[in-house]
């Protein structure tokens, strides 16, 4: 439960962002105040900051089964995705990208941008359940394909893609093609060993697993040639310039360590709460459909289509009743918009406007979820 003044909220929007894990803020705080140094310097103040930064890099690398020099700190998941797609193709317009129709905007819009610049791009469709066919992805590659990007866990539906299978299919055809995965939604629940996944690049965002906002990571396999998106002082081995956000890196690394340690509990406990919520909705609401429900799915996402109930109405009523959920995708003003993910899964715009996303997180309790689902069932009854 989130308490803000006198208002108690049942927070079921953890895929949007989740509260910081205990101790993370405290671990970061010294680097905002006492240990304020610029990590690129030659004196004691600098060295203290640099030590913390490099230690964070080692901790992140260990969580991914990677080497420290393969970790690039960024300002978040969006920047990591931009670097992963633009970096390998910048400067050669014959090189391009293959990605999926259900990717996050950070990948899709970057792909569209590259297309406008004249790079060959291809966006591959998904099945009605949001499933990705590795051979279809591999078969969509052209002679110029330099990067294939497939997300690990979909942010709206929780559908899990077998990234290792996609990578294997791609590399069978052309081992030089780089495979990237946006794993922003996956850190809390999926094992992210980069060798097992067979990826060359992997994006993370700190605030999705209990770290700070404004901190992200791109894993870049050693030997991968990338043109930076941000040019400047040459930090991060020239792959990402800009004074380091040491506090952010420390926070991200601390939280990632906790999330990895908590992963099996998260899968069973949060997954159990989600399954119970889902079961009660299926029993209590007629005609409800779980989007992406047929295939493998993360333990903490639940995307529901509730026929005859418009999502913006339901979300307003849920908020008024103290339950925070989401439409899965929103525009800048906060208005719900028709989800490109659900459209790619074959839903009509009208059907997509009947979809609501509940996402559970490391703080979610069974009581909260029970109260949330009871409220949902009552409201749907009233609205119908």
């Amino acid at each position: 439960m989130i308490c803000d003044n006198d208002r108690v909220m049942i927070y079921l929007d953890h895929a949007a962002t989740t509260p910081m894990r205990p101790g993370v803020w405290e671990a970061m705080a010294p680097f905002a105040v006492d240990r304020f140094g610029n990590s690129s310097g030659a004196h004691e103040v600098s060295r203290k900051a640099k030590d913390a930064l490099e230690e964070s890099r080692e901790r992140v690398a260990a969580c991914l089964g990677a080497r420290p020099m393969e970790i690039v700190f960024t300002s978040g998941g969006t920047e990591a995705d931009n670097l992963a797609l633009k970096g390998p193709v910048t400067g050669d317009r014959s090189l391009g990208v293959v990605t999926m129709a259900t990717e996050h905007e950070a990948v899709l819009e970057t792909t569209h941008f590259l297309h406008r610049l004249g790079h060959p791009t291809h966006v591959v469709g998904v099945s009605r359940d949001g499933g990705v066919d590795p051979d279809l992805v591999a078969g969509s590659m052209g002679p110029g394909t330099a990067v294939v990007s497939v997300m690990t866990v979909n942010n709206e539906t929780g559908v899990v893609t077998d990234v290792a299978a996609v990578s294997a299919a791609v590399k069978r055809i052309d081992p030089s093609v780089l495979v990237h995965t946006d794993a922003v939604q996956a850190a809390a629940c999926e094992s992210l060993d980069v060798d097992r996944l067979g990826v060359d690049m992997l994006s993370l965002s700190g605030h999705k697993f209990g770290g700070p906002k404004g901190a992200g990571v791109l894993f870049v396999r050693e030997g991968t040639r990338l043109e930076p998106v941000l040019h400047g002082g040459g930090q991060e081995l020239g792959r990402r310039s800009g004074t380091h956000d040491v506090a952010g890196a420390v926070g991200l690394a601390t939280a990632l360590g906790m999330a990895v340690e908590d992963r099996s509990r998260f899968r069973s406990a949060v997954g159990g709460i989600r399954d119970d919520f889902e079961k009660r909705v299926m029993e209590g609401v007629e005609g409800v459909v779980v989007n992406g429900g047929a295939g493998p799915r993360s333990p903490h996402h639940l995307n529901l289509r509730i026929p005859d109930v418009r999502n913006q109405t339901l979300l307003l009523r849920l908020d008024q009743s103290g339950v925070a959920a989401s439409a899965g995708s929103a525009c800048q003003s906060g208005a719900a918009k028709v989800s490109h993910v659900l459209e790619a899964m074959g839903l009509s715009p009208d059907e997509a406007r009947e979809c609501v996303r509940f996402t559970f997180g490391w703080t979610t309790t069974q009581d909260e979820a029970s109260e949330g689902v009871a409220t949902l069932i009552d409201l749907v009854g009233e609205l119908r």
Binding site: L316, C331, L383
Partner: protein, 348 residues
Amino acid sequence: MRAMVAMSGGVDSSVAAALMREAGHDVIGVTLKLWSGPGGEAPTAGCCTLSDAEDARRVAAALDIPYYVLDYTEEFREGVVSVFIDDYAHGRTPNPCIECNRTVKFDRLLNGLDELGCDVLVTGHHARVRSGPDGWELHRGADMAKDQSYVLSMLTSPQLGRTRLPVGEMTKTEVRARAAELGLRTAAKAESMEICFVGRGDYRSFLDRHAPSMLRPGPVIDHTGEVLGAHGGVGGFTVGQRRGLGIAAGEPRYVVSIDATTATVVIGRREDLLVRTVELEGLSTVSGRPLSGRVEAQYRAHGAAMPATLGGGLLHFDEPQMAVAPGQTVAFYESDRVLGGAVIAATG
């Protein structure tokens, strides 16, 4: 009572929300997202821009009321933009703000009140709702110069019963003073004049994108049929318009009528614009009962109401009127009370 305040981001709806809160009601603020351009961009002008929504959100936060943006872009496109384009295509003078009030703001929100868990709809319009012997009535606002009862003339008594217009009792000066007193960021904000989905007064590029046929060149003629010049498309001409005709004549010339099917613009002298009788369509009354006989009729948002006689789908003005154009709304009054409204189908 739970009140839903339609917040445009302007000073009037900001103060309306504050007044409802002061009166002790449960208040939520909503802004309607009505339009986005072809690339999904927010409008840059008019009453529904992104910065307006931001102002509304900030005011709601200052008043400590929940605030939501509701997406009605589909309804707006179908109910307002397509009518706007269609009106232009038929040489009529479109009234998008009135259409928006009727088909989106009031119709949708009033019908949606129950599902949104609210009892009344509150807007910042300058007009007054009163209870009368035959049900709810609509009256002009206390500030005659800012009166907006004309744009609400299509509302019916049952709709008015679920509507509150708290700033209608105040002058605009009082509204601004109140906003300043409350420290609301919208206190000194300028009023919006543009049509929100056209943006920066750029009719031509809007029509070019959405209704290219209205940019078909054609002749400018006089009442005898003599061709006096040419134009680049009927879109953008309005009956009564004097500037931008591209005709050099000794005396002022005005657009008298527009024939979109032949892309013809007819111009004439001032007296050619005078109209005594108009044919009406879509007549609706506040009370729901038929209306005929003596009325005062207002056919412009900021014009005076003129004595007239209504009957048989026709309206006869006592005195000939200038620049009455098909497509415009006419509101009927008895003194300050709105009796109903209609749209001008044709002039004769």
